[in-house]
Symmetry: C2
Subunit: 346 residues, 2 copies
DNA sequence: CTGAAAGCGCTTACAG
DNA sequence: CTGAAAGCGCTTACAG
């Protein structure tokens, strides 16, 4: 326990506590020699200011909160990792809170939990990013927030996203280029903004390729592997089944692979399977999944950058704080047998 | 932003701030009528004490830290979820920090990051739970900690674990009962305590069953799916390959399944595969993995309970704070074709 | 450029 | 059982 305070440092450096404070916070108006003296003492003593005292007397807490709907998902883990690393770099701390919107009183419970914490900012992950009630709650509490991968619905806040529609189009193009004409599509949870966008990317690319999409080939899942299994099984039971299935996330693509394996279908020869997200689990099957790499960690790091910008608080609606990050098509064995033929390719 | 302070509550309730403080913290020596009056005002105003002021003036921070080696693992996600829920219940907050022990200066970086945070406690997850340098660092900083799933190596701290050895024995018994005699075993990362314990459970059960374990059937992985793939492939390339492979975690079992699928082997008919952990990904393949359900969330919740016990700080070595949680063998399709034959079983 | 004073919102230690 | 005083370790606003 550091019994070391700003006074100790001040005494040893022969300056006032206020001057030490100035140096620590990188404020101007300190003569170079004094600054240096303070820094040396800080280094020797390995002094760290008390975070609570700092927060109590100032308006900043150096604390960010990451709000998550489903902490067990691989998506959440990646986002959290990115946020964590950037927070560490910037000497911020990250509090993780789960928001269970099934509870009757979730809004009160959340605001109670966040209040008194003097948060510098909040990161909203899908599908929370599209919850208007949640956005209002934060606005009312005057806590700045940044949304990760929001759908079109706008609010006066910064966000970091990627272009889901063109990514889905690119994946579709990939399948068409492989010669597929009958392509099944499994939609995600209607509550997620990405569900509509990804579908739209798929259909628009199909039209662009002059391919009509048989309505029976479009099924509604909920982003779980179980739903992927069920919907894919329904597609494969069709009299004229698709030769490729584009599941709009990796979990459903895994479910699709399960259904294919159970039926003894050769993947990708008889059925090609594509996913979306590049979840860790997209690499643990044989064949591995072709997918869209979504730079979740990088998106979270960007979100931290925005939130820690002192300007952001007063300019939440500034387009400058609305950023897009590049995705990448990752071709693996589930669509292209050549892409994953050797153990070394894992 | 709550401009609401303890003084406001005190004024409205017609008592002193100190009395409000007593009520809020559940301290004794408050007349029932006053207590009730205070509680009513607190409810009406929806007052929450400022966490920073509280921490600054007292020795408690109501803040716990979860230290994680690999935040992207499913293991970490489960543990975090359990800790999160219990913290929420108890009005604690959880800070998550990644500990990268590859960095040269990781110890200083960590202590700098934790210092000034006045943590009430720290939860150590594998493999950090077995790091003696880390334990020493925390002891020196006088921060109480609880270890999750430590190996035998003792330190004066509470822990929550399960009996890895008997779980591994039970899994082995399951395989033997199915008629397997040549059973391959893939070890985990030697740095993890569980690696030795699980192997020991396997070998002791084999002996108990009067089965000699051919040394060539025991391979060393590192808990990654890639290592599972490589080691399983080596086992399957043997002139006399095993009829079952027990991979000592689910990721390696998935790698094993990949290797089997790539070779066109029928699972479980030609090769039975068993894992360990009951990771989310153990359910996304066909067949699904037989595994040991490790109650990670419950273990984390227990850890929070120990840490939030005010007695713990001064009695870290008390056996009372060393707890074991029950595991469960989960039989699925990768060892027993009947266990996962229908889509409904997912 | 520098510092003395006051205060952030609580709790601790003390007195009654 | 109850409260007035002092203080936790910083920063804000002010004065010079």
């Amino acid at each position: 326990m550091s019994v070391l305070t700003i006074k100790d440092v001040a005494a040893l450096a022969g300056v006032s506590p206020k001057t030490v404070s100035r140096v620590i916070n990188g404020e101007p108006h300190v003569r170079p020699d004094k600054r240096e003296r303070v820094l040396r003492v800080v280094g020797e003593l390995d002094y760290r200011p008390n975070a609570f005292a700092r927060s109590l007397s100032s308006s900043r807490s150096y604390l960010l909160a990451l709000l998550i709907d489903d902490p067990a998902s691989g998506y959440a883990a990646d986002v959290q990792l990115g946020a964590l690393m950037r927070c560490r770099e910037k000497n911020y701390h990250l509090i993780v809170e789960r928001v269970e919107r099934v509870a009757v009183d979730w809004q009160n419970e959340l605001s109670r939990s966040l209040r008194g914490l003097n948060l510098d900012g909040v990161i909203l992950t899908p599908p929370l990013c599209d919850d208007t009630a949640l956005a209002k709650l934060l606005e009312k509490a005057a806590i700045p927030f940044v949304r990760i991968a929001p759908s079109g619905a706008e609010s006066a806040s910064g966000y970091v996203r990627m272009d889901d529609a063109s990514a889905a189009s690119e994946m579709t193009r990939h399948l068409v280029a492989l010669g597929h004409r009958r392509i099944g599509f499994i939609k995600g949870d209607p509550a997620h903004g990405a569900t509509a966008t990804r579908l739209q990317g798929f259909t628009s690319e199909m039209e662009r390729s002059n391919l009509t999409t048989d309505p029976v080939l479009i099924r509604e899942g909920d982003f779980s592997s179980r739903s992927g299994f069920v919907e894919a099984d329904a597609l494969l039971a069709l009299p004229d089944p698709p030769t490729a299935i584009f599941a709009s996330n990796d979990d459903m693509a895994l479910g699709t692979l399960m259904a294919a394996t159970r039926r003894g279908l050769a993947v990708p020869q008889t059925l090609a399977i594509a996913g979306f997200d590049d979840a860790p689990s997209s690499r643990v099957t044989w064949p591995q999944l072709t997918t869209i790499h979504q730079p979740k960690a990088a998106m979270a790091a960007e979100a931290v950058d925005i939130l820690t910008n002192p300007e952001y608080r007063d300019h939440c609606a500034d387009p400058n704080y609305r950023r897009a990050i590049e995705y990448r098509l990752v071709v693996r064995g589930s669509t292209d047998a050549g892409a994953g033929a050797t153990p070394g390719a894992i």
